[in-house]
Amino acid sequence: MDAIIQTEKLSHIYSAGTPFEHAALEEVDFAACRGEYLGIIGRTGSGKSTLIQHLNGLLKPTSGRVLFEGKDIWETKERTRQTRFQVGLVFQYPEYQLFEETVYKDIAFGPRNMKLDEHEVDRRVRDAAAFVGLPDAVLEKSPFELSGGQKRRVAIAGVIAMEPAVLILDEPTAGLDPVGVESILGNIRDYHRAKNATIILVSHSMEEVARSVDRLVVVSKGHIPFTGTPREVFAHGDELEAMGLGVPQVTRVFHRLRAMGVDIDPSVYTIGQARAAVRDYLARKGAV
C-alpha cells in the first residue's frame, strides 16, 4: 500500500543547547497508508504526542523529514499551511479550544480559514455535525452551554469539517463515560468508512485501540519498537509490559495459560477470538 504520510529518520530535541535538553524522538521512520485505521500506543512521555504534532507541521523536525503524499511538508510555507488542512489533528481535551459564540461558528472556523465559499462551509459544518451526532438544534447554541461530552463532539466536528484526508485523534475518549466512549469511537469509524480517510488514533488504552484499528504502532522512549496488526503486536506481551504498556486483559489471561503449559494461541485480543481459541483447544484435546 502507498503511504499517504510518512516520516524519514525524524528526530526532535526539546530545548536544544540548554541543560533541559531532551530528545523526544530519535530517527523515527513512521508511515500511514491511505484509508488505513492506525493506532498509536505509548505511555505518557513516550514521544507519541511529539510524533503526531510533526505529522501536520505544528512542530518542525530537528532533523529528518515529514512527507505528505510524497512531498516534504516544510518545502514552502504555503505547503505547511495546506498540510494542516489535509492532516486534521484533534488534540487531547479539545473542548478547551472552543471560542465562538455559537457551535455553528466554531465548527466553521477551520473551513473559513480554508477560504471556502459560504455554501461549501455550510455543507461541511452540517456534515461534520451529523458525523459526530450533534442535532441541528445545538448548532445555534453557545458551545459553553453544552455538556462535556457534547463540547468534545463540537471540537471533533471542528476538525472533521475541514474534511482532512488524514484524521489524527489524541486520546479522543479521555475522561468520557463508557457510553460516550463507544459513541465517539463509532462516529470515528463512520467517518473512516464514509470518506475512506486515514485515521490515526492515539491512545494508551490497549482495549480501546485493539477493537478499532487495522494496524498498531508502539512508541516507547522516542523509538518505534513494534508495529503490525494487533495480533502481531500483542504477541510481544512481556516486552509490552516491560515498557509499562500492558496488553488487553483477555490477552494477559491467555499468556498466563500458555505460561502454565496450556497449548493455546496467546495472540487473542477480543472476547470473540478468545472463545474461538478455547473451542479450538478443547476440540484438539477431545480428539487426543
Partner: protein, 268 residues
C-alpha cells in the same frame, strides 16, 4: 517554542550558601545593594559593586550564560538609555553634527548608566534564580508583617503573588497548547497587518480566559476544602529563622552601603 524560553522569575535549584540564606536576608541585601548602586558615583565604587556581584554569582554557581540570557529582553532599554545619555548630556562636545553632539560627560554618564542598569538587573536575577517563588513570597510577607497593623492585607497580597507566580508556567503551557490546536484548524498568528493579527488572537484569548477562570474556581474550591480562611492564626511548615550567615550577609550589605557613601564623600 519561544514561549517556553522565558526565564523571567525562573528558579534554579541549588544548595549553595546563597541558596540557603533566609529569603528575608536576600531581599534586604538586594535592597541594600540597590541603595549602594544608586549612591555610587565614581569608578572605585562601581568596581567594588562589580566585585561583590561577581563574587555572589561565583558562590551561587549560577552559570553566567543564564544571566546574560535573562538580560536579552531588556537590551533595548539599556541601549536606549545609553543613546539618550550620550546625546543629551551637556558638556564639552567632542563630535558635532547639526543638532546632535557627543560630549565627554555624556559618554561617561552613558557608561555608568549602562553599568547601573545591568548591575541592577543582574542582582535581582540572582535573587529570583536562587530563591524559590514560595520562599520569596514567604520572606516578603514576613518583612511586610508590621504593615498588618496599618490594616494592609499583607497575607492576602502575598498569597495572590504566590498563586500568580505558580500559574505563570501553567498558563504559558496552556497558551502553547491552544495555539497549536487553533493552528491545526488553520489559524494564522504570524501574518497580516496589526488589525488582522489582533483579530487572530481572539481564538487564543477566549479559551485562555475561560480556562484561567475555571482554574481559579477549582483552586478556590480546593483551598476551601482544606479549610483555608485567610492568614489569621495560620502557621507555617517551614519557619524562617535567621542563621549566622544571614547576619554576616546583612553586615556585608550595610558595610557596602557605608563604603559607597564614603567613596562618594571622597569623590572617587
Amino acid at each position: 517554542m519561544a514561549l517556553k524560553d522565558i526565564t523571567l522569575g525562573q528558579y534554579f535549584p541549588g544548595n549553595t550558601v546563597i541558596h540557603r540564606l533566609d529569603p528575608r536576608t536576600k531581599l534586604l541585601f538586594t535592597v541594600l545593594y540597590i541603595v549602594a548602586l544608586f549612591s555610587a558615583k565614581g569608578g572605585v565604587a562601581y568596581a567594588v559593586l562589580f566585585a561583590v556581584l561577581c563574587a555572589s554569582i561565583a558562590v551561587s554557581r549560577i552559570h553566567p550564560r543564564n544571566i546574560l540570557r535573562g538580560m536579552k529582553p531588556i537590551l533595548f532599554i539599556i541601549v536606549l538609555t545609553a543613546v539618550l545619555n550620550i546625546f543629551y548630556t551637556p558638556g564639552d562636545p567632542i563630535w558635532q553634527w547639526k543638532f546632535l553632539k557627543i560630549t565627554v560627560e555624556g559618554l561617561w554618564a552613558a557608561f555608568f548608566m549602562v553599568l547601573r542598569i545591568s548591575f541592577l538587573i543582574t542582582c535581582t536575577f540572582l535573587l529570583t534564580y536562587t530563591t524559590s517563588p514560595i520562599m520569596l513570597t514567604d520572606g516578603l510577607e514576613r518583612l511586610l508583617g508590621p504593615l498588618k497593623k496599618l490594616r494592609v492585607p499583607v497575607h492576602e497580597l502575598s498569597m495572590m503573588m504566590s498563586i500568580a507566580l505558580r500559574f505563570i508556567p501553567t498558563l504559558i503551557e496552556e497558551t502553547d497548547k491552544i495555539m497549536s490546536a487553533q493552528k491545526a484548524r488553520g489559524a494564522d498568528f504570524d501574518t497580516g497587518n496589526l488589525f488582522q493579527k489582533a483579530k487572530a488572537l481572539v481564538p487564543l484569548l477566549v479559551p485562555l480566559f475561560i480556562s484561567a477562570f475555571r482554574r481559579a474556581d477549582e483552586l478556590a474550591t480546593a483551598m476551601e476544602c482544606r479549610c483555608y480562611h485567610g492568614g489569621e492564626g495560620r502557621t507555617r511548615l517551614r519557619q524562617l529563622r535567621f542563621q549566622g550567615s544571614d547576619i554576616a550577609a546583612l553586615i556585608l550589605g550595610t558595610a557596602l552601603v557605608a563604603l559607597v557613601l564614603i567613596f562618594r564623600a571622597l569623590g572617587i
